[in-house]
Amino acid sequence: MSVWTARIIKAVSLAVMLAVSPASGPVAASEIGDAKTGARLFQVCKACHRVGKEARNAVGPHLNGVFGRVAGSVEAFRYSEGLIRAGADGLIWTADSLDAYLENPKSLVSRTRMNFIGMPSAEDRSHVIAYLRDFSDKPSDIPEAEPTSTATDHALDPAILAIVGDPDYGEYLSGECLTCHQAGGLDEGIPAITGWPREDFVVAMHAYKKEIRAHPVMRMMAGRLSDEEIAGLAAYFEGLE
C-alpha cells in the first residue's frame, strides 16, 4: 500500500466515523470550510499557483477544476516524476487527498517538487479547499462528485441507511426518474444515476428531501418519497448495469 493510499483511507475512515457521530472530533477533511477565508489563506499558494478566470500554469499547475482531476494531468505542465507516478497509481484530487497533500505534500507524494512545508491547521486547510472548490464542481451536480460532498449530507439517521429497499418497488418508482435520467447511464445535461452505490443514493435523496441540496426538480421528486421508497430506488439503481 502506498503512502498516499494509506493517508486517504485514514481520511475517509475519519469522515465515516464522523458520519455516525457527527458531534465528535476535529474538523473532517470532507467538511467544506469558508471560501472567503480560504481566498485569504490562498495568498501563500499564489507564489506558485493560479486559480480563477484565465488562470494559467506558473511555477505550479493552475488549479481550476482541480477536484476530480487525476494527479499530474494538467496539459503542458511539467510535473515531477513522483506526481506523475502517483497519478498513474490512481491518485485523484479530492477533498481528502488535497487535505492530506496540503498538510504535508511530501508525505503524500514522494519527491514532489511542491516546495511547501505544509499547512498544519485542519481548519485552515478546509478553508483553502472550500476556496478551490469554487473553481471546480458545484454542489448542485447530480450525482455529486466526491469533492463537492459536505459532511452535512451524511448526517442521516443510521436507521434510514439501514432500510433494505425492495428493488421491485424501486423499478416501478424508477419510471419517474427515467423521464430524465437514462437507465443506460448516459450523462449529458442530466447526470447518470445508474449503478450508484446504495448509500450514496439514499444520502443524496434525503439531502434533497431536507432541502439541503438545491435543485428544485429533485427537491420536488424526493420530497414526496418515503424512506422505504428511497431505499427501493437505491436498491434498484444500484443493481442496474
Binding site: E171, E176, T179, Q182, R224
Partner: protein, 423 residues
C-alpha cells in the same frame, strides 16, 4: 357505461392480494391484448412499459399512422435554429424488434366498445382487452373565425410536430425586412402551456439575427399565461421593442383571420401580417370522440389513479386528450401518466403488483441562447382529480450560469424521455 365498484376496488387493492392472483387471460384469445392508439409521449411510453414489464405476458399493439414521430416538444428550438428537424424525429423500430410490440402504421377510425375492437382505416379490426387512447390534440372547428384546416399551409398552426413546423420556419425565414409575425394564441386548456411563448422567443431569436426590424404581435384570448413574468422579462432583455403581447381585454376580441389577404381583424381594426401562426382552441384527438368517451368540452374524463375513462373501464386515456385535473398537457405529463396506466393495466390483466400512482411534470422553455427556464410540479391521485401537491418555477434575476445549466438540463431531458419512449 360506468366504472363498476369492483373495478374501483381492484384499482385500490393491496399489492399482496394482487400478487397472488392467478393469471387473467383474455376472454377469447390467448394472451391478454392491449391496443394503444397514438405513438407519442403517452402511447409509445405505455406500450414500451407494458411490453417491457410484462415480459411477454401481454400482447401489445401500437397503432400510429406516421413511420417517423416528430416531437412537438422541442420543435420551437428547431424554429430558433437550436435543433435540426432530424434530431426531433424518432422511429418505432426498437419498440418492435427489442420489445416485441406489434407496431401498425395506420389510422384508428373507430372503437366498438361493446365488441372491444378498434377499426383501422386499412380495414382491419383489432380486438382488445384494454385499449389505451393517447391521440394528442385536435382543433375545435370554428374557434378562430375564418380559419380551418384547409388554411393550414397559408397560416400554419405548427402545433403538431413535423411538416407544419418546417413550413412555419420557412415562412419566417422568408419574411420581408421589417415584416410582421402575428400569432393567434389559444385559449385554455391547450397542449404545452408555455409553448406559444417559447415559440415567440425562438422566432424573435431568429429575427434578431436575420431581420432585426421585424415585429412580433401576439393576439391572446387569455389574461395571463404560463411563465409570463419570466418570458416578458426575457423578451425585454433579449429582444427589446420587438414583441407586443396583446390580450383581448386591451385590443378587443379576435373577430376573424383572412388567410388569402394575410389579415387579422381585432377589435374592429385590420392588421396586415407577413406570417400568421394560428393556434386554434383544442380538444381531444378525434378517436376519443369516436369512442364516445369525451365530455361537452371535447376532453376525455378519467379516473385519476388508473387513467381509465370515466365512461369505460376498459379504455385508458393518456396525455393531452385526458381531462384529469391539475396536470398541464405536456409530453412529460403524458409520459408520467403512461407509467401509472401501464402499472394499472398490467395489474388488471396479469395480476402483477399495483403500486400507488405518482405523477410529475416539468416544462423547460428556452428564451434565448443559453437562457433556459423551467416550471414543474408533483401530483397525486385523489378521488376527484389528479391534484397538484407541490411545485416550483424559475425566478427572474437568476444568474447566467444557472440559466445555461437549465437549458443543458432540458437537452438531457429530451434525450432521456426519447429513450424512455422509444427504447
Amino acid at each position: 357505461m360506468s366504472l363498476s365498484r369492483r373495478s374501483i376496488l381492484k384499482g385500490a387493492a393491496t399489492t399482496a392480494a394482487l400478487s397472488v392472483a392467478p393469471m387473467i387471460m383474455g376472454a377469447s384469445h390467448g394472451k391478454p391484448k392491449v391496443v394503444v392508439v397514438g405513438g407519442g409521449a403517452g402511447g409509445a411510453t405505455v406500450a414500451r412499459y407494458l411490453a417491457k414489464d410484462s415480459k411477454g405476458a401481454l400482447d401489445v399493439t401500437l397503432i400510429e399512422p406516421t413511420r417517423t414521430y416528430f416531437s412537438c416538444f422541442f420543435s420551437n428550438l428547431y424554429l430558433g435554429g437550436f435543433r435540426t428537424l432530424e434530431s426531433l424525429g424518432h422511429t418505432y423500430g426498437k419498440l418492435a424488434s427489442e420489445y416485441g410490440i406489434n407496431v401498425v402504421h395506420d389510422w384508428a377510425v373507430g372503437v366498438d366498445r361493446d365488441k372491444k375492437t378498434v377499426s383501422l382505416a386499412g380495414g382491419a379490426s383489432l380486438p382488445y382487452d384494454r385499449l389505451v387512447l393517447s391521440p394528442g390534440i385536435d382543433f375545435v372547428d370554428g374557434s378562430v373565425p375564418g380559419w380551418d384546416l384547409s388554411h393550414q399551409n397559408r397560416m400554419p398552426h405548427a402545433y403538431k410536430g413535423g411538416s407544419q413546423t418546417e413550413l412555419l420556419k420557412a415562412q419566417v425565414e422568408a419574411m420581408r425586412p421589417g415584416g410582421v409575425f402575428a400569432m393567434v394564441a389559444p385559449p385554455n386548456p391547450y397542449r404545452c402551456p408555455p409553448g406559444p411563448y417559447e415559440r415567440v422567443s425562438m422566432v424573435a431569436h431568429m429575427l434578431k439575427e436575420n431581420n432585426p426590424k421585424a415585429k412580433i404581435l401576439i393576439f391572446d384570448p387569455k389574461k395571463k399565461f404560463s411563465k409570463q413574468g419570466l418570458f416578458q422579462a426575457g423578451w425585454e432583455n433579449s429582444y427589446p421593442g420587438m414583441i407586443d403581447w396583446l390580450d383581448s381585454e386591451f385590443t378587443g376580441a379576435l373577430e376573424e383571420v383572412r388567410p388569402h389577404s394575410m389579415e387579422l381583424v381585432v377589435g374592429g381594426e385590420v392588421t396586415k401580417a407577413d406570417v400568421v401562426n394560428v393556434i386554434p382552441a383544442m380538444k381531444a384527438g378525434r378517436i376519443a370522440e369516436l369512442a364516445a368517451i369525451t365530455n361537452d368540452k371535447g376532453w376525455a374524463p378519467v379516473v385519476p389513479a388508473t387513467l381509465q375513462s370515466r365512461e369505460d373501464e376498459n379504455i385508458h386515456v393518456l396525455g393531452d386528450s385526458a381531462h384529469q385535473g391539475d396536470m398541464p398537457k405536456s409530453g412529460f405529463s403524458a409520459n408520467s401518466q403512461a407509467k401509472v396506466a401501464a402499472n394499472a393495466i398490467r395489474g388488471a390483466l396479469t395480476g402483477s403488483k399495483v403500486f400507488p400512482a405518482k405523477f410529475a411534470n416539468t416544462c423547460w422553455s428556452l428564451i434565448g441562447t443559453n437562457n433556459g427556464v423551467k416550471v414543474g410540479a408533483a401530483y397525486e391521485a385523489t378521488a376527484e382529480k389528479i391534484a397538484k401537491t407541490s411545485g416550483f418555477i424559475s425566478q427572474n434575476g437568476e444568474d447566467a450560469a444557472l440559466r445555461k445549466q437549465t437549458y443543458e438540463e432540458s437537452i438531457g431531458w429530451y434525450a432521456g424521455i426519447s429513450k424512455d419512449m422509444f427504447g
